[in-house]
Subunit: 283 residues, 2 copies
């Protein structure tokens, strides 16, 4: 049996009781470690589970998945996934491969940022589609997520922006070499995300679609390490978010739509300047 087990968002103890029982009895356990991270590392998980874990990087998961699925028809193989197993396309793909090989599978769900973001007080049914903000390079600066944020705002909806993670990315120079070299891991901060959004705003204002820009003053919420003891939440304008440091990863950014009075009341506790949140209805 192939088990995809969600780990939740904080530390080792955020696994469910059901998930933990399966991990303890499994033949092999892998940890998917490139689409998200916990606040604790592999060693802390190994200590808590009392067993060893193999890190499953992008190469292992995307190129064949043969190792993971090996003998999974007669052995119990676990893939641990930070958050909920269906947060990333890769895992859907793995389950499809298992099905092709007649390997039974089971999913153990857990919290993901998509529902845990409710901790900032914004109501989940007031969110539109989720977007991802990728790191820009000198020659690749996509901005299609910007239009979707605007589309949500026009309808009064908040947008959850998932921020880019670069783990075990080969350096450009080593791509053609036999032995790959990897860049140090990078996790986009709310400050970097706000900076990128503000740059797009300048481009949009200089183009002919002037009306569809995100106001510099629009209310945003930055969340960091949601679900952990060191969780941090800040509500401020997009412009202020550019200069806000929420500490270690992971970060996510919310661009607010229309706010309900209960949302304003709850958000106020995280406001850099309470008046900004109170006034935000008008921006």
């Amino acid at each position: 049996m192939l088990y995809l087990i969600g780990l939740g968002l904080g530390d080792a103890k955020d696994i469910t009781v059901k998930g933990l029982e399966i991990v303890k009895n499994a033949d092999r356990v892998y940890l998917e470690a490139y689409t998200s991270i916990l606040t604790v590392g592999k060693e802390a998980l190994e200590q808590f589970y009392g067993r060893s874990i193999v890190i499953a990087d992008r190469d292992l998961l995307e190129q064949g998945a043969q190792e993971i699925l090996f003998e999974a028809d007669c052995k119990d193989v676990v893939l641990l996934v930070v958050g909920d197993p269906f947060g990333a396309t890769t895992h859907t793909d793995l389950v499809l491969r298992a099905k092709e090989l007649n390997i039974p599978f089971r999913i153990i769900h857990n919290a993901s940022i998509l529902n845990a973001v409710g901790c900032c007080g914004l109501q989940l049914y007031n969110f539109g589609e989720t977007v991802s903000i990728p790191y820009w390079t000198d020659c690749w600066q996509p901005d299609s997520f910007y239009e979707r944020i605007i589309g949500n705002r026009v309808r009064g909806l908040h947008t959850l922006c998932l921020l880019d993670i670069k783990v075990k990315e080969p350096t450009l120079e080593s791509l053609t070499k036999k032995v790959k070299e990897y860049m140090p891991p990078r996790f986009m901060s709310v400050s970097e995300a706000a900076d990128q959004l503000l740059k797009i705003t300048i481009n949009v204002k200089n183009s002919e679609n002037n009306g569809k820009a995100l106001p510099e003053e629009c209310l945003c919420v930055g969340v960091a390490r949601v679900g952990s003891d060191s969780q941090k939440i800040i509500a401020c304008s997009l412009k202020q978010m550019k200069d806000t440091d929420l500490g270690p990863p992971l970060h996510s950014l919310i661009i607010c739509g229309k706010l309900h009075p209960l949302e304003i009341e709850y958000l106020s506790q995280f406001a850099l300047n309470e008046q900004d949140v109170q006034n935000s209805v008008e921006v």
Copy 2:
């Protein structure tokens, strides 16, 4: 300390290890039992936790919450919530009341239908805003959710429809009496939801907004008891969904937007008629 602890979606073992530790050591434990349900009852939870639980109904939660917050500044009080604690407005409100009284609080997240719905293979970032479909009465037949489904579809997005739950609803006759009488609990099925949507479609077609109706043939996904061993998923047209029985609650309904090839491949395993899913791109 006030703890809001998510129970996830299936049975007693879907609580997190962190959540279980807190429950075992708490002074008082309440179970919120009117916005959602697990596949097991209070007794199964009590047996698993080895302690007694008090059911917190709507009256207890909304009218004061004084009992729950009583002495929570010096005792550990837990409110267990099916899914994730921030799924319902009521819980945000309870936390605000705790803050007013200087009672510290902590949230233990878990899976909710908003992320676990990914189990049907539809990608979570392709969902637009979530809607709720309420039970109609003879004199109250709201349909504003319909427009929002259409709005999502126009943008190519799927819509998760949360279906109404009526637990401990006083009968109309007893509303003015001292002793309230309650109706038997009701949980909207995907069949009832599809029936209601089809009725609105007829109304829309008879009005002047003809173009904005949901096609009877549009692809839907019905999910029941997500995360439990008896989970059931069916993909079929809206018209067929009306005649589909997914068994006991809880049910949710997804109205599909534009499908990605990987989504089609995954959904096919749940298709009533595989050709419908393959063709659905064109509807």
